[in-house]
């Protein structure tokens, strides 16, 4: 395989977990809920998936368990922010705190005694890349095919999510809740239910992204397996301007830099890597500024207008 293809392969693999999680967070933020608990949910997803697969030897079960955990944590966030009207930032951060700590805690508790309470180094069934043999020699294309089941899922998820958001009735309602909850409510849409639903779905996808890390990418479990990816996902959501189709570019960008960084570090120096690594974050800030500026002029693309604010209909 030539250089480009191998970089592309790694990039796509690295971007898989990011993309799934990003799509999940896009759905959540599109209803106006900011979920800063991504890092915690990804960690819990990764741990749950790994531990479940380790003990049950069933990948399917592991994936389902991870999604369940993600859904539960997201449900907590939805409950606190929507029903209890708590501060969205603090709630999300609390979930990250809890998720980080609890995954670490469980990770140490669940391992066998002999391994000093860590799951590191244990092997579980993992999702193997499957690709038809003949594809191996085709440049570029083989990079796309030489991936595991979850990456294939992403190939499907992106167009599906885009279609759902922009071409279906529930997608329209979802978007209206994030743009103008008062109008949505006046038009008969249940704002609360919508927020709960997509926050939970978002959480499930985020946890699924985490599962990819422990079941395929690394694989295995270690305490900081996400390495801050959760925060990158939050940046990616902005970077893709809340559009699932664009999520892929950001993930490739971040994933690609990750991949390139390995190569660079291997060659001894990490100086340029750090600045390269900064680019996505700087880019995200620029996107935010551009959007806000442009929004002031045109309202064409923007954050869901009601992102981050709570909403309660007054009784008459």
């Amino acid at each position: 395989m030539d250089f480009v293809t191998s970089i592309l392969t790694i990039t796509i693999r690295a971007g898989t977990s990011l993309t799934i999680a990003t799509i999940g967070e896009i759905l959540t933020e599109r209803t106006g809920i900011l979920n800063l608990g991504v890092e915690g949910i990804m960690l819990m997803g990764a741990l749950t998936a790994f531990a479940t697969v380790f003990y049950s030897h069933s990948i399917m079960l592991g994936i389902l368990a991870a999604m369940a955990i993600g859904g539960i944590l997201a449900l907590l966030h939805a409950f606190l922010t929507t029903t209890m009207r708590a501060n969205q930032v603090v709630s999300g951060l609390s979930i990250t705190l809890f998720g980080t700590g609890f995954s670490s805690f469980l990770g140490q508790r669940l391992g066998p005694e002999s391994n000093n309470f860590r799951l590191v180094g244990l092997r579980a069934e993992r999702i193997l890349p499957f690709a038809p043999k003949w594809a191996n020699d085709i440049p570029i294309l083989s990079a796309f095919l030489n991936q595991d089941m979850m990456t294939y899922l992403v190939y499907l998820l992106i167009p599906l999510a885009w279609f759902f958001l922009y071409k279906t009735r529930p997608g329209l309602w979802l978007r209206s809740v994030g743009e103008d909850p008062y109008t949505a409510d006046a038009m008969g849409i249940d704002v609360t239910k919508t927020r709960y639903l997509y926050t939970i779905i978002g959480g499930m996808l985020i946890a699924l992204g985490g599962a990819h890390l422990s079941l395929s990418y690394t694989p295995g479990w270690s305490e900081n397996i996400t390495g801050g990816r959760g925060w990158i996902v939050i940046a990616l959501v902005i970077f893709s301007m809340w559009n699932p189709a664009r999520a892929v570019w950001g993930s490739l960008l971040f994933g690609g830099i990750n991949a390139v960084q390995f190569r660079l570090q291997a060659s001894g120096t990490s100086i340029p890597a750090n600045f390269l690594n900064m680019l996505p974050y700087i880019g995200t800030i620029l996107v935010l500024v551009a959007i806000t500026w442009w929004e002031a002029l045109s309202k064409k693309v923007g954050a869901p207008a009601a992102l981050g604010s709570s909403y309660m209909r007054e009784e008459k």
């Binding site: 705190l97 809890f98 609890f102 925060w231 100086i271 800030i285 806000t292 309660m312 009784e315």
Partner: protein, 359 residues
């Protein structure tokens, strides 16, 4: 019949006190449940944690070590939140503060005597933090760019930048490949009081008092409170809203930068990995739990630091994972978040009369 939230007609003092207490109790129970599931005795665990954090001089010193940066960043974040400016960038401001302090020390070591060097380092930390927070503040006031996400992103830029420095140009040539800057000369070390706890604790307490004084007893603090409560009202009374926001947020960043400067000059004595370990995020929780009151922040910071240190102890003594402390921190917050609603609203059961709604 249905349940409805109704706004309270008066501040319920009982709610203000009861809610945090009940939340704490709930979280203690939840954690106890968790511990029992994993086969650990809750009482033994709690006491091990308490002893670990406060039972010995060493333990207490370590608790202070963690409490100091939490206090400073907590105070910084609290000012920002007072203005409803969601400064999530405390971590980055802290990091750059450490970088600036290290920079001043490393480059001016030859030229300045100890105490002056230290003051310079701390000032550098203040300025770096102020600058780093000033940028998102300006973006907010001039272009109305949302500060939550900008400050968050700037954390990563700051952290990456500091990594670049201590892996690269500032790396200690005699460091055996260990990433980190050269060690500071001992006359540039922040004096310690007990164990690793340094005089930063005194400065932090002093800052808490000053901040309280500013907010409650000066004209400027009064204006900040008004701006935080209602920018319209502030403008209508002739207060310069934008300028005050930028100043206050710069102050917020400065305090976080100072925290970083403390870490570097008082704890690690060099610039290395381990500067950014999440104090900036925990600070948000400290500020929120203290209800933004500068006088409460040192206590809350101490409590959270104790949980963290206690957690470490628990690992050694009871074989439980050190992450126990973090889990507890998370578990305390959920009931408190849920409970915060009750300070403003009451839960009522409403019976629908046929043909009319209440009110």
């Amino acid at each position: 019949m249905r349940l409805v939230f109704e706004k309270r007609k008066a501040t319920s003092i009982s709610a203000l006190i009861l809610v945090p207490l009940i939340s704490f109790a709930v979280s203690l129970c939840l954690t106890a449940l968790l511990l029992t599931i994993f086969g650990a005795d809750p009482i033994k665990t709690y006491s091990a944690m308490a002893i670990g954090a406060f039972g010995s001089l060493h333990g207490f010193a370590e608790t202070l070590v963690k409490a100091i940066p939490l206090m400073m960043t907590g105070l910084g974040v609290a000012i920002a939140f007072q203005l409803k400016f969601w400064n999530i960038g405390a971590e980055g401001q802290l990091t750059l503060g450490g970088v600036a302090a290290a920079g001043v020390t490393l480059f001016l070591e030859q030229y300045l005597p100890g105490p002056l060097l230290l003051v310079g380092a701390l000032l550098g930390g203040l300025l770096a933090g102020a600058l780093w927070a000033g940028i998102p503040a300006l973006l907010k006031t001039s272009l109305n760019v949302d500060e939550t996400l900008v400050t968050l992103m700037m954390n990563y830029i700051a952290i990456l930048f500091s990594e670049y420095l201590y892996y690269g140009p500032w790396r200690d040539p005699k460091g055996y490949g260990f990433p980190g800057s050269r060690m500071f000369a001992s006359n540039a070390w922040l004096p310690r009081i007990v164990g690793r706890a340094h005089i930063g604790i005194l400065i932090a307490l002093f800052v808490a008092l000053i901040l309280w004084f500013i907010l409650k007893r000066t004209r400027w603090g009064f204006e900040l409170q008004i701006i935080g409560a209602s920018q319209h009202a502030a403008r209508y009374q002739g207060i310069a809203v934008e300028r005050n926001i930028v100043l206050a947020i710069a102050l917020s960043g400065a305090l976080c930068g100072l925290a970083g400067a403390f870490e570097v000059t008082g704890i690690s004595h060099r610039l290395q990995q381990g500067l950014s370990i999440g104090y900036g995020y925990t600070a948000i929780i400290v500020a929120w739990m203290s209800q933004l009151n500068p006088l409460a922040i040192p206590f809350v910071a101490l409590a959270l630091a104790a949980l963290s240190v206690g957690g470490d102890q628990v690992q050694m003594v009871m074989g439980l994972p050190a992450a126990m402390g973090t889990v507890m921190q998370g578990l305390i917050l959920f009931p408190m978040l849920a409970g915060s609603l009750f300070t403003e609203y009451r839960l009522l059961a409403v019976i629908d009369k046929k043909g009319s709604l209440p009110g």
